[in-house]
């Protein structure tokens, strides 16, 4: 039985050395090296800020939450274990809690003012909006062509067959990308949701 082409096996199976930036960054961050905070900010502040903007609907509040997130991450950096966790996911976990805190404070304020007496419950919760930003980001980060395949399946609702046809890609390859894509998404999701 032939499972794969000979070329595929003959090709070197070398493990791509991942750029060391990630783990080195995490270690430097925990060690309190200033550049690590800057690097982390450069890396993840747009995602943090966008999640906050979508959830809070206010640029000013989102700026506050972004500031709180990085200040809090830096001050509690010794609680992060670079051997076990993912620094970006850990920061996303912090912004999720800060967003929840901001919404909670806002809710208290509104109840106090009775300003929302007649407000209709919104269909989508603000937290969901932040999660949608994160999902869009994580799907995009799957890289070509997996991001396109996963987006077609989950955003457009395309069937496997439709994706196969549209991208001129064998059905098995499409399915394989989707399965792997979901595995990766779940890993990423766990990194930012189990904190």
């Amino acid at each position: 039985m032939s499972v794969v082409s000979v070329e595929e096996v003959a090709a070197p199976m070398a493990v791509e050395a991942a750029p060391a930036g990630g783990t080195d960054l995490a270690r430097a961050f925990v060690a309190g090296e200033d550049w690590a905070l800057e690097a982390l900010y450069r890396d993840v502040s747009a995602l943090v800020y966008t999640m906050a903007v979508r959830a809070l609907g206010s640029d000013a509040d989102a700026e506050d939450v972004t500031q709180q997130t990085f200040v809090s991450a830096w001050r509690s950096r010794e609680r992060f274990n670079p051997e076990r966790g993912d620094l970006r996911g850990w920061v996303i976990g912090i912004v999720r809690r800060r967003i929840a805190d901001a919404l909670e404070a806002r809710g208290r304020e509104q109840r106090r003012l009775e300003a929302v007496k007649d407000a209709e419950p919104t269909k989508r919760s603000p937290v969901d909006d932040a999660e949608s930003v994160l999902l869009a980001y994580e799907v995009d980060a799957l890289g070509d062509p997996r991001n396109v395949i996963v987006a077609l399946a989950y955003y457009d609702g395309a069937t496997h067959e439709q994706i196969s046809e549209r991208l001129d890609m064998p059905l098995g390859t499409v399915k394989s990308h989707l399965r792997r894509g979901l595995i990766q998404l779940r890993e990423r999701w766990e990194a930012s949701h189990v904190a």
């Binding site: 493990v15 791509e16 747009a46 399965r179």
Partner: protein, 234 residues
């Protein structure tokens, strides 16, 4: 713990459900420079020895100071996003994957980690090892190691990212160099799965470690849909 896992999965499923019918728009907004300045200022005011990053220009704009340039890409958050995909795979939450990916010395790092997980070091002896690769992304996906135990039995230990599939399962195979003969070892059941090899089995004759997606169709042969692979170095 598994309760947390369920919640995580549920929230992912909900997010995917909400995505349906919307546009996939990964565009991110860049926070204004004053946010960074406020962070630096707030941390500067911290007392104590490990106070603060010195105030520097917002890292999201302008040239990156030399000292900070080496470990991270010089980029704005928006363009940095393009670089994230390959990088993040190297720092995935799975400790072993990260270890295997970050250390090119897979032998040292990954085996050390596995021995750490497996219990007392004296009980086992690593005789062969294969760094595993995701066949689609061609990135590191953990490792497979053959250990001999004190009682002489040989065990293949597979450490790789794992997820339960609804309509299929993952199966682990050892395949010969010519891709003609193969042995099924069984189902992959978690991030750490061990398979006892039959006595007298020569892994040198089947050095390719292969993980396939198998549909629940009762067909005992390989589906042809390999997702992960590595070659044992004995």
């Amino acid at each position: 713990m598994s309760h947390d896992d369920d919640e995580v999965l549920e929230s992912l499923e909900k997010a995917l459900g909400r995505a349906r019918g919307t546009e996939h728009d990964p565009t991110l907004l860049t926070p204004p420079d004053r946010v960074w300045r406020a962070i630096a200022a707030e941390l500067d005011s911290d007392d104590g020895e490990d106070a603060a990053p010195e105030i520097s220009p917002a890292p999201s704009s302008g040239p990156v100071p030399e000292a900070t340039a080496a470990p991270v890409p010089e980029a704005t958050p928006a363009s940095a996003r393009d670089d994230l995909a390959p990088r993040r795979r190297g720092v995935s939450g799975w400790g072993l994957v990260a270890a295997a990916a970050a250390g090119v010395v897979v032998g040292g790092v990954a085996v050390g980690a596995i021995i750490g997980l497996g219990g007392s070091e004296g009980d086992l002896d690593v005789v062969a090892e294969a760094p595993l690769t995701d066949l689609v992304t061609e990135t590191a996906a953990g490792s497979a190691v053959i250990e001999t135990r004190d009682d002489g039995s040989a065990v293949l230990v597979v450490e790789t990212p794992f997820v339960d599939l609804d309509d299929a399962y993952l199966e682990v195979w050892l395949i010969d160099q010519n891709i003609e003969g193969m042995v099924s070892l069984g189902h992959l059941t978690g991030e750490h799965t061990e398979f006892v090899l039959p006595a007298g089995f020569d892994p040198g004759a089947f050095p390719i470690v292969d993980i396939s997606v198998e549909p629940l169709d009762g067909d005992p042969t390989h589906s042809g849909e390999s997702v992960t692979r590595g070659v044992l170095e004995i």
